[in-house]
């Protein structure tokens, strides 16, 4: 049963749209006829705390939780959060990460240090990393909130279904809520897809 279920872990901090991104991934999987479960701890998430959202889909999903060491893909909206959660991945599995650093007050006031090089630390654990600045891409396109669609675009070529299926889920979501934002999110999606491809190319060259 386990081998037929795809486990995707989406992480970041409260307010970044992590849960929405996971929901869109789930909608794409459901549209293809998969069973799906999505879970996260959300209680205090909007106060800038850690958010980790689990998505499992396949012919039938029982437990909604991904166990450490069993995720197929980690989609990280923030650099230190990628490092915090990468032990959830299967050995050698891929991390797609936003390199933007969101520094919390406990680091600002000097109680803790921000990790010096999260990408290198994750690579040292044997994972492939596609790293790109999703925040920069979003801001260049006009709105930091597009980071969500940028990250989904980056994930699009690493799913067990065609990228167009995921794009369709994004378009459907915005068409029903904010139709004026459909085109912008489509562009963000494509920009994220391109950023991932470029990062993947770089990763191969380095190896």
């Amino acid at each position: 049963m386990e081998r037929d279920v795809t486990n995707i872990l989406v992480v970041g901090i409260g307010g970044q749209g992590v849960m929405t991104a996971t929901e869109i991934l789930a909608e794409a999987a459901i549209a293809l006829g998969f069973d799906a479960k999505k879970t996260e701890v959300a209680g205090m998430a909007q106060r800038g705390g850690v958010v980790s959202s689990h998505l499992r889909f396949g012919p039938r999903v029982l437990s909604p939780q991904i166990t450490a060491g069993s995720a197929d893909l980690l989609l990280a909206f923030e650099a230190a959060e990628a490092l915090r959660w990468c032990h959830y991945l299967k050995p050698g599995a891929l991390v797609l990460m936003n390199t933007a650093k969101l520094v919390p007050p406990v680091v600002n006031i000097g109680l803790y240090d921000y990790p010096a090089d999260p990408v290198a630390e994750i690579r040292a654990q044997g994972h492939d990393v596609h790293a790109f600045d999703a925040m920069d891409i979003a801001v260049t396109l006009g709105d930091v909130r597009l980071g969500n669609s940028v990250m989904l675009g980056a994930a699009a070529d690493h799913l067990p279904f065609p990228a167009e299926q995921l794009l369709a889920a994004i378009v459907k979501r915005f068409a029903s809520r904010k139709p004026q934002l459909v085109d912008l999110n489509r562009r963000a999606f494509e920009a994220g897809r391109a950023a991932d491809a470029a990062a993947g190319h770089k990763e191969k060259q380095a190896a």
Binding site: M1, I13, G14, E23, A26, E27, I30, A36, K37, K38, T39, E40, V41, A42, G43, M44, A45, Q46, R47, G48, G49, V50, V61, L62, S63, P64, Q65, T67, A68, G69, A80, E81, L83, R84, W85, C86, H87, T99, A100, K101, L102, V103, P104, P105, V106, V107, N108, I109, G110, L111, Y112, D113, Y114, P115, E121, Q125, D133, M135, V139, V144
Partner: protein, 620 residues
């Protein structure tokens, strides 16, 4: 929220457990639903308020919400109320006698246990209420079951004329899964019928109802024995078999796909004979329940051998990574290969929002010396954290009042000059704080009370309450005047101050003056939560690099938009070494509240020019 057109019957929807319960409440023809917000239960009433044909309210506390539902059920309507686990502690006074009167219209009480403490002050097992009040308990394992069991609970409630508990956990409430929904059926109110012997619980009346309660419990046990919701998943490997309920069922199935499982959906009263028969088919019976050993204790008392909390944890979720190694050890199997340990990364606790009106309050409190601060439940509990460290106790809703009173009256000799303060939010004050303040006034306590009125139930997502003049649908409603309210409780008018928490000098002076007065004072702050519509953003501020001296005063405010970009060691004229913190403001996040400007000695913080671009700080 405006009423929406519900999705048609037979649609397969991706629903959270809370959304699934709400849909089932509507379909069941429920006419009255009430709740006080509380994670993880909040979304049930939020969703219900969007359905047509159903009266929904945010009640002022859980006890009132249950009483509203009881009244509606007495009137013959189907009724529903929802609460988090600690809410039932408040509501249980009503529950424990409600079990004697029973109901006419179906009454379902959803209690959401925060197993794993995602956003709660403790972890409780609400299944105890079923045993304590002799009431049936349903335990769904996912959204589809939450939907189906809510409907079954209404039917059972009406058949047995007793309230039914629907026990949820965070892993049901907040997990989204597919659920197929059905049609709504109407249930007209039967009408209230005068029956003093049943509805007026005097000792003489209650004593006659107790035997009926036990008779009902026996009938319910027979119901549980026969219920299709208590079923066996046959397995091929009977070395261990599981009795399980709620979300633990999914974790057990995931972890041990070949093991036989007896799944309890109607788990109280326990179907003992069904379990006894199942136990005979397996080598070893394991009870997997979250979180207390209720089923296990009852099985052992009835001579059914089983293993439970001797090996399984008594707190937190029984997720696969918890279950697998423990059962492997029991079976003498090797544990799976070790997983890489997590990397060491700084903690990222929840913070107060950019420009939160509580920031000014806690910054000011952190500047006062020789004080003890009794706190309460809400966003402002975060005041106990960095950089303010300005909250000394938190225990339960409204407790800041009584605890402050006790800290005053029970003070030791060493604390005789300590000033005692209490900090409480608007919604928590109305929930359970008013009585405590009355106690302080009546018994002449010396406490300075801060009511942080941000016009919302902030922590749970900004729900409306009697303090902001809007009801659950956002429609106009009478609004509480806190100054008048506390005056009518007996606080002297000259001891009541309404203060803008963004005006730090005023707040500081008011606090410093009032803590010196040896009687009760109330300071009410009056600015809205930044996450609700009442909050108006202003032009952001920025830091002029050349002017910043690195004093770090603004950092003490604790606003997440202020970032330390550079640290330097410096030696003061006194010879003392200090660390300078040179800051920047993330102008894209700043909403211009102006709190950080006030402690900035060199005037290095200024408004961004109108029309100038705002930016995100680059930290690469």
């Amino acid at each position: 929220m405006a009423a929406v057109m519900p999705a048609p019957a037979q649609t397969r929807l991706f629903l959270s457990g809370n959304e699934a319960v709400a849909r089932a409440v509507w379909e069941s023809g429920c006419r009255v639903a009430a709740a006080y917000p509380g994670t993880p239960s909040t979304e049930m009433l939020e969703e219900i308020s969007g359905y047509p044909d159903i009266y929904a309210e945010w009640s002022v506390n859980e006890k009132v919400s249950l009483e509203v539902a009881i009244g509606a059920a007495y009137a013959g309507s189907r009724a529903f109320c929802a609460m988090k686990h600690v809410g039932m502690n408040v509501a249980s006074d009503a529950l424990m006698t409600l079990t004697l009167t029973g109901v006419i219209g179906g009454l379902v009480i959803a209690i959401a246990d925060d197993v794993g403490l995602s956003s709660s002050q403790n972890e409780q097992d609400s299944r105890y209420w079923g045993r304590f009040a002799h009431l049936p308990v349903f335990e769904p394992a996912d959204s589809q079951e939450a939907y189906e069991m809510t409907k079954a609970a209404f039917d059972l409630s009406e058949r047995f004329q007793c309230p039914v508990i629907l026990r949820l956990t965070t892993r049901i409430c907040h997990v989204k899964a597919l659920a197929t929904v059905g049609e709504r059926s109407e249930h007209a109110a039967a009408g209230f019928k005068k029956d003093v012997a049943r509805w007026v619980m005097t000792p003489a009346g209650a004593v006659r109802r107790i035997p009926l309660m036990f008779e009902r419990e026996q009938a319910l046990r027979a119901e549980a024995e026969a219920s299709a919701l208590n079923f066996v998943d046959a397995g091929t490997d009977a070395r261990v078999g599981f009795v399980t309920s709620g979300p633990a069922y999914m974790h057990v199935r995931e972890s041990f796909p070949d093991a036989p499982v007896l799944k309890l959906g109607l788990s109280c009263p326990l179907p003992l004979e069904k379990i006894r028969a199942f136990a005979a088919t397996v080598d070893k019976l394991i009870v997997a329940e979250e979180v207390e050993p209720l089923i296990e204790t009852e099985l052992k008392a009835n001579g059914i051998a089983c293993v439970g909390k001797e090996i399984l944890p008594r707190q937190g979720e029984l997720a696969p990574h918890v279950l697998k190694p423990i059962i492997a050890k029991l079976l003498g199997e090797p544990a799976r290969e070790a997983i890489a340990p997590p990397a060491q990364v700084f903690p990222r606790p929840p913070t107060m929002c950019v420009a939160c009106p509580h920031l000014g309050v806690y910054y000011t409190l952190s500047q006062l010396k020789n004080i003890t601060i009794a706190g309460d439940i809400g966003c402002y509990t975060l005041g106990a954290g960095h950089p303010w460290n300005a909250l000394d106790t938190t225990i339960s809703m409204g407790a800041s009042m009584g605890i402050a009173m006790g800290l005053d009256k029970g003070r030791g000799e060493a604390d005789k000059d300590k000033r005692i303060l209490a900090v409480i939010g608007d919604s928590t004050f109305m929930h359970m704080g008013m009585q405590g303040l009355l106690d302080i006034v009546y018994n002449k306590g010396n406490v300075t009370v801060l009511i942080l009125d941000n016009r919302a139930v902030g922590m749970t997502g900004g729900q409306n309450n009697p303090g902001n003049g809007r009801d659950i649908h956002g429609e106009a409603a009478p609004r509480v005047d806190f100054a008048k309210l506390v005056e009518s409780l007996g606080v002297k008018p000259e001891r009541i101050h309404v203060v803008d928490p963004y005006l730090l000098p005023v707040l500081f002076k008011t606090l410093r003056d009032e803590i010196k007065v040896p009687e009760v004072s109330v300071i009410i702050t009056n600015q809205p939560c930044v996450l609700v519509d009442d909050y108006k953003k202003q032009q952001p501020f920025e830091v002029i690099d050349d002017k910043c001296t690195g004093c770090g005063n603004c950092v003490e405010v604790g606003c997440p938009a202020i970032h330390v970009m550079r640290r330097e060691k410096a030696v003061k004229p006194s010879g003392k070494e200090v660390e300078l913190q040179f800051v920047q403001i993330e102008t894209a996040a700043c909403t211009g509240c102006g709190l950080c400007v006030q402690p900035c000695a060199p005037d290095a913080i200024v408004k961004v020019a109108p029309g100038a671009p705002v930016g995100i700080l680059k930290r690469h």
